[in-house]
């Protein structure tokens, strides 16, 4: 079984996010970037499938600037066999929206013919949570999102999904798209020997022209704002004072 794992280069989850002065987005220059944590979980799951003998090949794909090669080499060190960079832009600030990403991935799927696409449920930069679903739609494949457990047998995947009321178990026929939730697995530390070995694994580059996908955006970012600062609390002297403030200042009691 062949697996395709899309990986996105995002601002590292440890970085304190700063909004650009002009409100056009968040600061990405001179900021530590790393693989989207949900994609890391997707890749870890793929590697475990390969180790169990369920999968035979893992292809990682990233769409973005040349810098995304770093993310792909991390993917190779984590256990992907091959990597594909879709060189989509030279502007690190350009955001490629989910539908465009899904269209590009659909082209890659048509070329690579994987049996399963495992993707992170969302990227931690824009939190769109849409690419996996759109890709399944474009391909006409089944989809199972927010997976917390995946079992492959006899041409289908049994996927446990975390939903509000508890756990939902789905069975999808392969080929399919599965997106991963936080509790699916805990990615391993990249080992030093695998970092060295990753250097020798193939990393192929494609351009948008190769794939014939148009990136014209359909969404417009109106403004990006920092979360409001919490104002300081206050001490009240008595219950009466508290009730008075709730009634007359906060207006939550009448």
């Amino acid at each position: 079984m062949k697996l395709l794992v899309p990986v996105k280069r995002v601002v590292d989850y440890n970085v304190k996010i700063r909004v650009n002065p002009d409100g056009s987005g968040v600061e990405t220059s001179n900021v530590k970037m790393s693989m989207n944590p949900f994609d890391e979980i997707a890749l870890e799951e793929a590697v475990r499938m390969k180790e169990k003998g369920v999968a035979s090949e893992i292809v990682a794909v990233s769409i973005g600037t040349q810098q995304a090669k770093e993310t792909l080499r991390t993917a190779l060190a984590l256990g992907a066999d091959r990597a594909i960079l879709v060189d989509a832009t030279s502007d690190p600030k350009q955001d490629i929206e989910p539908l465009s990403v899904a269209k590009i991935l659909a082209k890659i799927v048509a070329e690579e013919k994987p049996d399963l696409v495992i993707a992170g449920k969302q990227a931690i930069d824009n939190d769109m949570n849409a690419t996996g679903q759109m890709l399944a739609g474009l391909l006409g494949w089944g989809q199972a999102t927010f997976a917390s457990a995946i079992e492959i047998s006899g041409g289908s995947a049994t996927v446990t999904r975390e939903i509000d009321g508890g756990l939902q178990i789905l069975k999808v026929a392969l080929p399919a798209v599965i997106t991963t939730d936080l509790r699916l697995n805990e990615p391993r530390y990249i080992s030093l020997p695998s970092i060295m070995k990753a250097k020798k694994k193939p990393l192929e580059e494609k351009t948008l022209a190769d794939l014939g996908v148009d990136l014209t955006p359909r969404l417009r970012i109106v403004h990006t704002d920092e979360p409001k600062q919490r104002s300081a609390g206050m001490r009240v002297g008595s219950v009466d004072e508290l009730i008075d403030k709730l009634k007359n200042e906060a207006g939550v009691l009448s």
Binding site: R73, A77, Y189, I190, S191, L192, P193, S194, M196, K199
Partner: protein, 380 residues
């Protein structure tokens, strides 16, 4: 940053491992003075032992700069654990350079921590001056018979295999010493009690005595009579490793001090707003960075095959002295709390002291630096 992409990746892995696995365990390991096998097993899985061992012999095959980066990060977690990594690195380097095919065959076990090693040089009468060793190996048939004793040997209470420096020719001075690979479970080997140390307490240190220990023909590492020179040939790398370890201890102290200064309030102000505290933090940060650059420059010299003796001694000496001075500053930032057991900086200060002593005292490092200056001039 001047680290290449792979070196940066290695640092990220070592950093995450130190933050998530090592640092949270350090306080208990220090208190219990315990050998952390479970952490070493995990480290072995991540390939953090034998950083420089070539791929053909089961390692990742990284350069000395990468090794220094790993040592600093691990030590930032806990120096005892970095020191285990340093020990494995030295033994592996000796084996890679001088071992027969059969001897290098033990490398995968050593890197997996399934075979624990000890580097047995020091004796009561031979510390800094190694030529004073009295342990002897006498030729006997096709093998040798080992007699004598070693003290302050890292891993002695737990090790499976010792790399033992012994005299094979009494008249030949530095050319009369050899290194033997000794099974420490063999008859005639006795282990002394574990020493209770000021710091780096998870490192198990003790004595070993050898009485009529029979060694086979395979036990000799490299050539007979070349033991001293083989030992000296890995000293540069050893010093870079300890210098990086010292830098990591100080870096942990800086991180703790910056965090504490940002939350501790006196006179209704964070203590980080007082200039006295700011100067302590600034001095710590600049000296740590200076030590790190000395370490990296010495490592790069080794990697480029340049004469690295002076650079390695400068790095080791500066980083060791810096670690003691700057962890003392970290204690100072914490005030009374910093003197209390259980606060990280109290341990860091104790852990730092030995970096001025082991792998060649800092007085010896100064002698080497001066000797190099006299020999090669001030510009070399």
């Amino acid at each position: 940053m001047y680290l290449n992409e792979m070196q940066a990746q290695v640092r990220e892995t070592a950093q995450a491992f130190a933050d998530e696995v090592i640092r949270p365990a350090a306080e208990a390991l220090d208190r219990e003075e315990r050998f952390p096998s479970e952490i070493y097993d995990e480290m072995a899985k991540v390939g953090l032992f034998g950083v420089g061992v070539p791929e053909s012999l089961g390692g990742p095959g990284f350069d000395t700069l990468t090794y220094a980066v790993v040592m600093e990060e691990l030590s930032r977690g806990y120096a005892s654990i970095a020191d285990q990594c340093g020990l494995v690195e030295l033994i592996s380097t000796l084996l890679v350079r001088h071992g027969t095919e059969r001897q290098t065959g033990m490398l995968p076990e050593i890197l997996a921590m399934k075979r624990k090693v000890a580097y047995c040089i020091t004796e009561p009468e031979a510390g800094t001056d190694v030529s004073g060793i009295r342990t002897t190996a006498e030729k006997d048939g096709d093998g040798w018979v080992l007699n004598g004793g070693k003290i302050w040997i890292h891993n002695a209470p737990v090790a499976d295999t010792g790399f033992v420096l012994a005299r094979t020719d009494k008249a030949a001075g530095n050319r009369g010493m050899s290194i033997f690979i000794v099974d420490l479970h063999a008859q005639g080997v006795e282990r002394g009690p574990k020493e209770h140390k000021m710091g780096q307490r998870a490192s198990q240190v003790g004595g070993l005595s050898f009485s009529d220990v029979r060694l086979g023909p395979d036990a000799l590492l490299g050539e007979a009579g070349r033991g001293f020179h083989m030992m000296m040939s890995v000293l540069d790398k050893g010093r870079v490793g300890i210098a990086a370890l010292a830098t990591g201890i100080a870096q942990a102290g800086l991180e703790a001090a910056v965090e504490y200064a940002g939350v501790r309030k006196q006179f209704d102000k964070k203590i980080s707003e007082f200039q006295g505290v700011q100067w302590l933090l600034a001095d710590m940060a600049k000296d740590i960075e200076a030590a790190r650059l000395l370490v990296h420059s010495a490592a790069v010299k080794i990697d480029q095959g340049l004469d690295a003796t002076k650079a390695c001694s400068m790095a080791k000496c500066f980083a060791g002295d810096m670690a003691v001075a700057r962890t003392s500053d970290a204690v100072q930032v914490f005030g009374g709390s910093g003197y209390i057991r259980g606060f990280e900086v109290e341990r860091l200060y104790r852990d730092a002291k030995i970096t001025q002593i082991y792998e060649g005292t800092n007085q010896i490092q100064r002698m080497i630096i001066a000797r190099e200056l006299m020999k090669k001039g001030a510009r070399a």
